[in-house]
């Protein structure tokens, strides 16, 4: 019953607030369009409907493009959206006689990532060839790490809120099976009208880290939260830019459902997911689809499905060549990848030639979880606020900068940051960097408020002016619009008297 306790249980009859799947394909009548995820991970007994509950199981395979100047095994530059086939070395095009030469930076990025995900780093890892014929795989095989990957047995903790309520944060852990280094493929562009396939090899050979997450998740929301946390970690480390829209982070989800006490069901692999939001949708849709399929007496095929973001559903993918046997083989042109730690480091070894795991460990930046803790501790803000601060690139820095420049308490500053700044930026689809109001101006404004020179209402008015980005300071706006609070007792009395007099005269 171990699995029972850890996993959420789904039942067809409960409604889930977020992540309502879109309309399904016509062939699949949808009696209930949504199911609930019990994010607390508690067992939910069979409901009144009498149906046995379903336990969904979700595992993820994530490909993160390594942020590096050159490719994994060649000197070609790595760059997004360069002219087609402009970044292709002889090796990338698999010209006969060319050999792979491992890129040190890519190894370091994988070690950093492995350490950040609490993995044990293999001091000796191996490269293998994985064979399949595809137009954008020029060598006919991909160099990967099938037998002994660079990092294994890690874990990733991630948090999310239940029912969209910020106050109910739940933290979970997913086990990381392994991280392996491998080559990216090129891109095939199919021109259906002319019956042609065009191949762009710019991406061929770019370094990837494949992060394999164990099936410890049970719904789209969990999968999305885990990937989001991984994304933040990669970006913090700089090991990958991890922008999903640019394909630097690609997520495949393995989904199955089973009844409690029974073995895992047949799983499907969902591909073609290109945003975190769609990941949640795709997983939830697939879980729902499988449950309905099974309850209607159908069976689940072990197949690859693609998520159609327009229709909001998953559809079977045409298999490349039926069932594949990848005919794995050791890559004979690359010696085993040997890493060292302080203990095993040979005395008179050229430092350019070796990678020291301990050296990398000591230089790891603060990970998001640590940063959040520090924010909570240092500024007394709520944990959920620390999540929001880190979720937006540059927001935590903005917040800290404002705090430094103002006398206002951080607890109060956070409200302005999250309620005013962030919602404005979101409304206008702006990044923190693009904010028309700098941290300096906001601090200025908050100082006026803190010194009680203006009221909170007036401060909002000033902020509204500041968004226009006309270069005026808060104080100038206050003066122009006469928004100052009156601090002078006598002046206030005079005004009051004048008002009363006016009344009397009427």
């Amino acid at each position: 019953m171990a699995a029972w306790g850890r996993r959420g249980v789904w039942r067809r009859v409960r409604q889930c607030g977020a992540g309502r799947p879109g309309p399904g394909p016509a062939a699949l009548p949808r009696r209930q369009s949504a199911v609930a995820c019990n994010a607390r991970g508690e067992a939910v007994p069979a409901g009144k409907s009498g149906l046995a509950p379903w336990i969904p199981v979700v595992g993820l395979e994530i490909h993160a493009q390594i942020s590096s100047n050159s490719k994994l095994f060649s000197g070609s530059q790595v760059q997004f959206a360069a002219p087609p086939n402009s970044l292709v070395s002889f090796f990338d095009a698999s010209l006969p006689g060319t050999l792979p030469v491992l890129n040190r930076r890519c190894v370091e990025a994988a070690v950093m990532t492995g350490l950040a995900l609490n993995c044990s780093i293999n001091k000796k890892s191996l490269f293998d060839r994985k064979h399949y014929f595809y137009a954008d795989l020029p060598a006919g095989y991909q160099i990967t790490q099938q037998r002994v990957p660079i990092a294994v047995n890690g874990s990733l903790s991630y948090s999310f809120c239940i029912d969209n309520k910020m106050s109910q944060m739940v933290t979970k852990t997913v086990r990381i099976k392994q991280i392996q280094l491998e080559q990216d493929s090129g891109k095939s562009l199919h021109d259906d009208t002319r019956c042609q396939t065009l191949v762009d090899l710019n991406r061929a050979g770019v370094g990837l880290m494949e992060v394999v997450m164990e099936p410890d998740m049970c719904c789209g929301e969990e999968a999305a939260a885990a990937v989001r946390e991984l994304q933040l970690i990669l970006q913090t480390l700089g090991s990958s830019q991890a922008v999903m829209a640019e394909g630097q982070l690609r997520v495949d989800a393995n989904v199955s459902v089973h009844h409690p006490g029974e073995p895992y069901g047949v799983r499907t692999e969902v591909k073609n997911i290109n945003s975190i939001r769609f990941l949640a949708k795709a997983v939830d849709y697939e879980i729902q689809r499988q449950i309905e399929e099974l309850e209607n007496g159908g069976t689940i095929l072990n197949e690859t499905r693609a998520f159609d973001s327009k229709l909001g559903c998953t559809v079977p993918m045409r298999d490349k060549e039926g069932k594949q046997d990848y005919r794995f083989m050791p890559e004979p042109n690359l010696p085993p990848l040997i890493l060292y730690d302080a203990k095993s480091l040979p005395a008179n070894m050229n430092h350019q030639q070796v990678i020291n795991i301990d050296w990398i460990h000591e230089r790891l930046p603060d990970l998001p979880s640590v940063k959040r803790e520090k924010l909570v501790e240092q500024y007394g803000i709520l944990p959920e606020h620390s999540f929001t601060l880190l979720n937006e690139d540059g927001l935590a820095e903005f917040f800290e900068s404002v705090v430094k420049q103002t006398q206002m308490k951080p607890k109060k500053v956070i409200g302005w940051i999250l309620n005013d700044l962030l919602s404005y930026l979101k409304q206008h689809s702006l990044t923190v960097k693009e904010s028309p109001v700098s941290s300096f101006l906001l601090a200025d404004l908050l100082n006026l408020l803190e010194k009680k020179e203006i009221s909170s209402t007036a401060a909002k008015q000033v902020l509204a002016e500041l968004w226009k980005g006309e270069g005026r300071t808060p104080l100038e706006i206050v003066k122009e619009q006469k928004l100052e609070l009156l601090q002078d007792q006598k002046e206030l009395e005079q005004i009051c008297e004048a008002v009363i007099d006016g009344q009397e005269n009427e």
């Binding site: 006969p96 006689g97 014929f133």
Partner: protein, 526 residues
């Protein structure tokens, strides 16, 4: 100066002293290549670039700044090494017309040392074979087929028999390179050696064939057969010349991660006078089935030679050698299947006109591009790599390979310095006889004495030893310790001096091109 001269001891001095110019040398080689065209040793002759390189070399000599011993020396390269601007075909339809944009590291090194690249030599398709008979450009003919020595000995055969059918094969797969060196069209040539492909044709063509230690010479730019066993091979007329070539080619290459990190110091070979401190091992397993009595006799004569000179000669055992053929078959075909996957007609090479689908284009391209031998190896290799077979075949073969390598380690640890073995089971077979059997059977037989050195990555050299009863060359093989090329070549050089292998007397060429040849003949007999 003559084309028959030895590179290190004679030609380089002649060039330095101005007795011959690089251009003259190059022109004479080119002329001889033309007159020996019937040997089919070359696939591509790069006349224009060769003459240009010779001219540049001449300039350097004029300035008194030659780049070294190799400056101005005409060389040939097996057609599975990439050469920028010169076609690289691997004797396959798949790469016919393919011009590589880069030079293999070994080719670049030769050019950097001032060598003149005459052309690309013939081979079995993708180096898969032991006869140099299975390439798309036809078989290579052994120059010894046209030697006075062979003609005299084969008179017993009826004169009525068509002379055409008497010619013998070069061995392979570097048969073009061996024939080129043997027929004096170049002073040295590059081959490749995966299971004996340099040593085997060297033995049949009466030249020195060196397979260096795996990792000593870069494979970058060598179109692979079996990456974990391939080594660029060196074919020369004497052991000293092989050392010169080795000196210019060896060392770390950042483009090949399997090359050794340490710097390689080129060496000159000493004239060994005392062999009494040497321990020569005679592996009993090399007394293989099919070993001709003639070669067996020669082998023991060689052992006696060492014994009589005071060396310790001991019988040793390499018990796993007998498994090397079957082990090689699995490992070779598996890597072949993988390496050949890139030839899909998309990026380069042959592409079929078949346009039904990408898959059908792949299939047709590969069917049209590869011969039966290559396709057969791809098929068996893919079979061995299937998930359900991998443990049973590939992993097991790797384990056997380790055992074979360990055999050598044990023998060398016991105090043996060098192993002495035959290189081939017999002298070269007539072409008509050779093609009676299929490539796989032939390769399995022919590689039997050479393959284990590739499995273990050890350096090995063929030294031409004597002529057989038929008047054809027979060679013996020395196998040394890893990276102990200097010791290996020093012993080989001593042996070479003792046996005084005869110079080939090319009758046919004399008849075809009497002018050039007579000049050389007189020089060589001096």
């Amino acid at each position: 100066a003559a084309l028959k001269a030895l590179l290190r001891s004679q030609v380089s001095a002649a060039l330095k002293e101005g007795r011959v110019t690089p251009t003259e040398l190059c022109q004479r080689c080119l002329a001889l290549i033309k007159s020996t065209k019937f040997l089919n040793a070359y696939i591509t002759v790069a006349e224009e670039t060769a003459l240009k390189q010779a001219e540049e070399s001449e300039e350097r000599y004029k300035r008194g700044q030659p780049l070294g011993i190799l400056d101005g020396i005409p060389v040939a390269v097996k057609d599975n090494f990439n050469t920028a601007g010169i076609e690289t075909t691997c004797a396959s339809n798949m790469l016919k017309g393919y011009i590589s944009p880069y030079n293999a590291t070994v080719v670049q090194k030769l050019l950097d040392h001032g060598a003149v690249l005459l052309g690309k030599t013939n081979l079995d398709e993708f180096a898969m074979g032991s006869g140099s008979t299975d390439g798309v450009f036809g078989p290579v003919r052994n120059p010894w087929s046209y030697s006075k020595q062979y003609k005299e000995k084969s008179v017993s055969k009826s004169h009525s028999e068509d002379e055409e059918s008497n010619w013998v094969i070069t061995g392979g797969s570097s048969g073009g390179s061996a024939a080129a060196v043997s027929s004096f069209t170049c002073f040295a040539a590059l081959g490749s050696d995966t299971g004996g492909s340099t040593r085997n044709p060297a033995a049949h063509c009466g030249v020195v064939g060196l397979k260096p230690t795996y990792g000593l010479i870069s494979r970058h730019g060598l179109i692979p057969l079996v990456n974990s066993m391939d080594v660029p091979g060196i074919l020369t007329r004497c052991v000293d010349d092989a050392a010169v070539l080795l000196g210019s080619l060896a060392g770390h290459d950042p483009k090949d991660s399997t090359t050794i990190q340490d710097d390689f110091k080129p060496f000159e070979l000493p004239n060994l006078t005392d062999v009494s401190k040497l321990s020569i091992g005679i592996p009993k397993e090399y007394h293989a089935p099919g070993l001709s009595s003639e070669i067996l006799a020669l082998w023991s004569k060689a052992a006696d030679l060492f014994k009589n000179a005071g060396a310790k000669v001991v019988e040793v055992s390499l018990p796993h050698t007998c498994y090397s053929i079957v082990c090689y078959h699995v490992l070779c075909t598996a890597e072949v299947a993988s390496n050949m996957a890139r030839f899909d007609g998309l990026e380069y090479g042959h592409r079929s006109d078949m346009k039904d689908s990408t898959e059908s284009m792949y299939a047709a391209t590969r069917r049209e591009g590869f011969n039966d031998v290559v396709r057969g190896r791809i098929l068996s290799g893919n079979y061995f790599l299937l998930k359900q077979n991998y443990e049973k075949y590939f992993v097991k073969a790797q384990k056997v390979r380790r055992l074979i390598a360990n055999d050598f380690v044990k023998v060398f640890r016991s105090g043996v310095d060098i192993l002495l073995t035959p290189t081939t089971l017999s002298d070269a077979a007539p072409y008509t006889e050779f093609i009676q059997e299929d490539n796989r059977t032939r390769s399995a037989q022919d590689d039997i004495l050479t393959q284990a050195a590739n499995m273990a990555g050890l350096p090995a050299i063929n030294v031409p030893t004597a002529l057989s009863e038929r008047g054809l060359p027979v060679g013996l093989q020395f196998i040394g310790r890893s990276f102990q090329e200097k010791q290996l070549l020093t012993v080989a050089k001593w042996f070479e001096k003792q046996v005084q292998f005869p110079v080939i007397q090319l009758e046919e060429v004399k008849r075809h091109e009497s002018g050039v040849f007579q000049h050389q003949k007189s020089a060589s007999s001096s």
